[in-house]
């Protein structure tokens, strides 16, 4: 393999991994704190993308940058509504109930999106500042890809700082381990739960905005991304952000290289990988062990 194709592939891997990581991190964060798998998580991603296309259509040139800020916030607000109105009542219930409820939400959101934006494929142009290519080692690296990777890196650092360094992060971890002690010490536990969920939604929405210039925005995006995110979660281990990162990278590698080497079988590789991980370590690479 020539140097330029190595670089091209590497960037491809990192770009794929980046969007996937932002979505999976939100999913795993929510699971870690709320012990809940949100099947509608992909809906937040999709809405982030769709909202971006709407804003871009209205605002023209600056639309992208505005979307980058506004859309994740709007999606976060959606998340707050969902948590307060629906999920809050279901924390004590069985996992099945939670799965079914979030599955129902997926259907509802999908239908509303269809109403709001129709069936046609929408898109958004990347801002001119991010257009073009960057010459590196003989390969033409799209500037936008570097931007995507950069955003994901910032998110990763931000999450790490939040979780391990800040008081909030400490509180979130305590919520999982010892909610009664935390509540007794005066922390508003429900607020933290809502906040974490909103953060997870925001990350998914951000990922949607970021991916919109590179990919077709259309119905079915939600289901597509959630399956990939689930596989990342299974491989990396639920609740672990590091696991989400590693899992995303692995998927990135498999998808990118698979597309290059055996295009017709590529889409099946990630499932084979998941099967392999489940066969060896049924709780994912970084998940909590059983026995």
């Amino acid at each position: 393999m020539s140097e330029s194709s190595i670089i091209t592939n590497l960037i491809g891997i990192l770009t794929t991994a980046s969007t996937l990581f932002m979505v999976a991190a939100g999913l795993t964060l929510v699971f870690g704190a709320l012990r809940l798998i949100n099947i509608a998580h992909g809906s937040f991603y999709m809405y982030g993308a769709y909202l971006a296309t709407t804003l871009a259509a209205r605002l023209g040139g600056a639309g992208f940058w505005v979307s980058l800020v506004i859309c994740p916030l709007v999606v976060a607000a959606m998340g707050v509504l969902v948590e307060v109105l629906v999920l809050r009542r279901l924390y004590r219930r069985e996992h099945l109930t939670q799965l079914l409820a979030t599955f129902a939400l997926l259907l509802i959101f999908a239908d509303i999106a269809l109403r709001l934006w129709g069936k046609s494929v929408r898109s958004i142009k990347a801002p001119s500042a991010l257009n073009g290519h960057f010459q590196f080692g003989g390969a033409a690296v799209p500037v936008y890809d570097l931007f995507v990777i950069g955003v994901a890196a910032l998110v990763a650092i931000g999450l790490w700082a939040l979780m391990s360094r800040s008081k909030l992060g400490w509180r979130v971890r305590a919520v999982v381990d010892d909610p009664e002690v935390l509540a007794a010490s005066g922390t508003n536990v429900p607020l933290i739960l809502t906040g974490v969920f909103a953060l997870g939604a925001m990350l998914a929405g951000l990922s949607g905005v970021v991916i919109a210039p590179e990919q077709a925005v259309q119905p079915g995006m939600d289901a597509e991304i959630i399956v990939a995110a689930f596989i990342v979660a299974v491989i990396g281990g639920l609740g672990s952000i590091v696991g989400a990162a590693i899992g995303s990278l692995i998927i990135g590698v498999v998808e990118t290289l698979g597309a290059v080497w055996t295009p017709s079988w590529a889409s099946t590789f990630i499932y084979a990988l998941m099967i392999l991980v489940l066969a060896i370590r049924p709780w994912g690479l970084f998940g909590e062990t059983e026995r």
């Binding site: 409820a101 599955f103 259907l107 239908d111 269809l114 289901a223 399956v227 639920l238 489940l278």
Partner: protein, 347 residues
């Protein structure tokens, strides 16, 4: 300790004291009579219904029957074993494809492929179950979902074998069955036999242990039950009947296509089981009726079918988790119990 003690009261009053119920044998034999009467009555009703309705409704009923078997088979995992699988559509699809591809590639007769379909599905269920069941509950659900997607991808991409996104179409259903009433009666017969078999599986030592595993996996293990192997068997049995349902679907649709396999398609029988009542045996069947006829009615007036479906599912899950039949039987059960003071139940 001998295992030969009969529950039927004998001459000895000491033996009688061992039976926990005042109603005793009487209650048991009357519940047996009820067990036989219900399926017979329902079957007669369904046959009569077939002759009473017109051609269009009859074809809808054919689809409902396939869904009844699909939903009941899924509930073996969901309600009985407590396993949430988003992958039962895989077996449903494999059942349908077995019939379609059997005709397409090897010109096999329908009658052969129809009965081969559940066997093929069961065989596929073995390796899928072996892998997926190693995982804890949520991981299990997620991996069944992924298997579903895998099956969908394979069906769509392996064009040479599966005809890809177009699906398999053709006259593989014999003309005797394309006649609505004959097709319906055939499917009804298959449905009744399948439901009886599945019912027996739940009302057996195997079924009892399955429920115990659902209630407390660790405790069942501490009692000597090999949980993994047991769950695998339930998974394969469920896959078997899901495959049969897929073959039944072909009688109605005369086609097989990739969308049958995808994970949102797995959601349908789950939805039916929840509406009808996961905790009861016939709940999913009722749910199938409600879903299909509800869908057909609503689609005429409302274009936002998914919204309604999602909304109804959400409301049921949040406020009426027992489903229709479940709520009804709960009320009935506690009333009956109160009246008998100590009614016996054979489960």
């Amino acid at each position: 300790m001998s295992s030969g003690k009969s529950p039927v009261p004998t001459a000895s009053s000491q033996e009688e004291a061992r039976v926990p119920t005042g109603a005793g044998a009487a209650a048991r034999s009357s519940s047996l009579a009820r067990s036989v009467a219900t399926p017979v009555a329902l079957t007669v009703l369904m046959v009569a219904l077939g002759f009473a309705v017109g051609g269009n409704t009859l074809t809808t009923l054919e689809e409902v029957l396939a869904l009844v078997v699909f939903a009941t088979a899924t509930n073996l995992l969901l309600g009985q074993a407590g396993l949430v699988s988003f992958g039962q559509a895989v077996f449903y699809g494999i059942g349908a494809y077995t019939v379609g591809l059997g005709w397409l590639h090897w010109h096999l007769s329908f009658w052969l492929t129809f009965f081969l379909a559940p066997v093929v599905s069961a065989l596929v269920a073995i390796p899928v179950g072996l892998v997926a069941l190693r995982a804890r509950r949520l991981y299990f659900a997620l991996s069944t979902l992924a298997f579903s997607e895998l099956a969908y991808q394979l069906a769509e991409s392996r064009y040479d074998f599966t005809q890809g996104a177009n699906g398999v179409f053709g006259p593989f259903v014999p003309s005797v069955l394309t006649d609505p009433i004959k097709g319906y009666l055939f499917l009804l017969a298959v449905t009744v036999v399948s439901l009886l078999l599945m019912w027996k599986v739940t009302r057996s030592p195997f079924g009892l242990v399955t429920r115990a595993i659902r209630e407390n996996r660790g405790r069942a293990q501490a009692l000597g039950v090999n949980v993994y192997r047991h769950q695998l068997i339930v998974f394969v049995v469920s896959g078997f009947f899901c495959g049969l349902a897929g073959a039944m679907f072909v009688v109605y649709s005369q086609s097989a296509y990739p969308e049958l396999l995808d994970w949102t398609s797995s959601g349908t029988p789950i939805f039916m089981a929840v509406i009808g009542g996961m905790g009861t045996f016939l709940g999913p069947a009722l749910g199938a009726f409600i879903y299909q006829f509800g869908h057909d009615e609503l689609v005429r007036y409302v274009s936002d079918w998914q919204l309604v479906l999602g909304g109804v599912l959400l409301l049921i899950v949040m406020f009426w988790p027992d489903g229709v039949l479940g709520s009804l039987t709960k009320v009935k059960w506690s009333q009956w119990r109160n009246s008998l003071n100590k009614g016996g139940s054979d489960e």
